[in-house]
Amino acid sequence: MTNVLMTAPTVRPRKSPPRLRNRRTSHARPTRSILLTVLTALIGLYALIPLVWLLINATKTQPDLFSSFGLWFSGDFALWDNIVGVLTYDGGVFGRWFLNTLLYVVVGAGGATLLALLGGYGLAKFNFPGKRAVFAVVIGAVAVPGTALAVPTFLMFANLGLTNTPWSVIIPSLISPFGLYLMWTFAADAVPDEIMEAARIDGASEARTFFQVCLPMMAPGIVTVLLFTVVATWNNYFLPLIMLRDPDWYPLTLGLNAWNAQATTAGGEAIFNLVIAGSLLTILPLIVAFLLLQRYWQSGLAAGSVKE
């Protein structure tokens, strides 16, 4: 039994050797296509320009925003003032929105990952009648756009009396058909049946087999799903838009939009500088999450590519 448990970590594909090997192979093959390089550079530029724009314009004052060229610094360097403005404007409501977003992400995306993990594992490793039907439903659910479900979901939550509460954002976020599907295929590949059988023969309970044997092997998949659900929940705009009416429960996306819309109303104060600085602050945690989690994600994508 201990023998089996010891094998688990060695299967965990999280060490860096594959990456080194990759680097070496790319060095060994010096053939470079100029066209591809230019194309990649263009696409990279296309992806980065909005970020650069955001970074540069977060440093400008409101008047400078409209009187200066968008892709270079000009006027007063007001980044710090803008950030202070974002954090203090309207009684510091930005902080509240930040905490709300964090709550939705931790409970919603975390819960979605957990459910996808349990469901995916069960579907991949156990046989039961109706499994194909479940498969069909999950694939179908991936295909249905969230927008199409918005009105029915809203009416359902309204009947339950849950609209305008954090639950109305958290509960729908808990369901991630795509995450389930991903965990399912990942578990099917990454967890060999033989190891599970060995664990069972050694007398481990199903729970122990899951937590101590299979879970570590599924770590890359879990991180991938977590990353997807975190990004989806962090950026979620439409669901909170239809569910929430109380600005105190807004996530950052809705809050920033409310600030932005303020300029288009009679007598409304235009605070584009705060909207831009706020947007920058909003994406920072996502960037951090990506930087921290991407190595797990990479190894996750590589899983199954190596013949064992």
Binding site: F66, I242, R245, A261, T264, T265, A266, G267, E269
Partner: protein, 446 residues
């Protein structure tokens, strides 16, 4: 006032709005269920007794009004929620009404959107509360917008009589006189663009609110509403007059094809490359905060006329506060409305940069004498106030104007890219309005 269109969402809202409208119409409640008169004493009793009020509004000056109101009536607790601006707000309201839960007691309503909710019987008739006696309190434009026959569906908050806002510096550089008529406006447009190819007299990329206001000023009555009978005629004299004149500007590329409220728009206003705006009197505050670099350059003049020497104007934007039919605290809510839009709240909101709908303030010496630094010390309220008296009477919006405006860019808006003429575009808009109205159960004739 908002001109930003979240079109898809707007269409969704409109669709559900109409579904609701017709259930309401079908139930046969023909206004006969109006509550018995509520006396001012009942309202003050409700204010003394207190309670919680939920107010949905995005109007920024209401913050202070709510604080003052709560200080005066300590038992009342007002929760002011900004659930979205313009269309987002209507979607939220429609959703809450459809779901039957979470409906606010008081809601901000732009004048163009008000009929959609009042005909759906989602808004309470305020006449039994004594609101009809306030008819001489407000200027005719906004008052006409909140009343329908004997019924009063809200108290006007602000108004948007139109005027010509222009950048005197750009005008001077181009050697252009301030246009008093639309012919002169077209000449000025040409001269400004000739003197600086980057400069345009104004920007318009197909905005329904602007087009309807222009038709209004030109004497058009494209929408006639009588209960569920609607007549649409976007080829009437006024509409044709506007279409012909504006077509001339579009043909010669004299109008910047820039969406209102976009970054580019604010940038153009700040740099003087968008040299003028024909818009509602609420604009000064937005210019001050959104186009600060041009401070001191802007001026206000009367709206250009179709016939020289007249004073015919229209309203653009503006909104009211209404009480929802679903509210079970109508007397208390009316107390708030009266405070905010007829009582002490008015002064607070004017201080915040709002343009009044109340006649007393429009004619107030101090208000008229105010000099605006942004406008180079001009007494702009004199011009704006005069515009309020010239609003052409008898204008009506559709009972589904929110939807109609949301499809404007797909129909009439096509004229702004040159793929069709404005007259044909308005025809296409009419077609789509008629079709939609009939589908929703209205009897729409052309």
């Amino acid at each position: 006032m908002t001109i930003r269109h979240h079109r898809a969402v707007g269409a969704l809202a409109a669709a559900s709005a109409l579904a609701l409208t017709l259930t309401a119409c079908g139930s046969g409640s023909d206004g006969g269920d109006a509550a018995e008169t509520v006396s001012p004493e009942d309202v003050s009793a409700a204010l003394e007794e207190g309670g919680d009020l939920l107010v949905w509004a995005w109007e920024p000056t209401l913050d202070q009004v709510v604080k003052d109101f709560e200080a005066e009536y300590p038992n009342v607790n007002v929760e002011l929620a900004n659930v979205g601006t313009g269309n987002d707000h209507y979607v939220a309201l429609q959703n809450a009404i459809s779901a039957g839960s979470g409906v606010p007691d008081v809601s901000q309503m732009e004048y163009y959107a008000l009929p959609q909710f009042s005909i759906g019987e989602s808004l309470a008739d305020l006449a039994p509360f004594g609101a009809s006696e306030l008819d001489s309190t407000y200027s005719p434009g906004p008052w006409g917008a909140v009343t329908s026959g004997e019924a009063v569906y809200g108290l006007p908050m602000d108004s948007g009589p139109m005027a010509l806002f222009y950048n005197a510096k750009t005008f001077e550089e181009a050697g252009v006189e301030v246009p008093a008529t639309w012919d002169e406006f077209a000449d000025a447009a040409k001269k400004i663009n000739e003197s600086d190819p980057n400069a345009y007299i104004t920007a318009d990329n197909g905005d329904a609110g602007f087009a309807t206001s222009m038709i209004w000023q030109a004497g058009g009555h494209p929408f006639a509403v009588d209960g569920t009978d609607v007549t649409v005629d976007l080829g009437d004299e006024g509409s044709a007059r506007f279409a012909e004149m504006w077509q001339g500007l579009l043909d010669d590329d004299l109008v910047a094809n820039v969406p209102a409220w976009s970054d580019e728009w604010f940038q153009g206003l700040g740099s003087g490359e968008i040299a003028a705006l024909v818009t509602g009197a609420w604009m000064p505050a937005n210019l001050e905060s959104g186009a600060a670099p041009a401070s001191g350059d802007w001026r206000v003049a009367p709206m250009p006329q179709w016939t020289e020497g007249e004073n015919a104007t229209a309203e653009n934007g503006g909104s009211a506060l209404s009480i929802t039919e679903a509210s079970d605290k109508k007397a208390l809510a009316y107390g708030f409305l009266e405070y905010a839009n007829a009582g002490d709240g008015v002064a607070t909101r004017l201080e915040g940069g709002n343009f009044p709908a109340t006649l007393a303030d429009l004619n107030d010496e101090a208000f008229l004498a105010e000099e605006s630094e942004y406008f180079g010390g001009q007494k702009i309220n004199e011009v704006l106030s005069a515009s309020a008296t010239g609003v052409v009477p008898g204008w009506q919006y559709l009972p589904y104007q929110v939807y109609a405006n949301s499809v404007f860019p797909d129909t009439a808006g096509q004229a702004y890219t040159g793929s069709t003429s404005l007259a044909d575009g308005l025809g296409a808009w009419q077609e789509s309005i008629v079709k939609y109205g009939n589908e929703q159960g209205f009897t729409v004739g052309e």
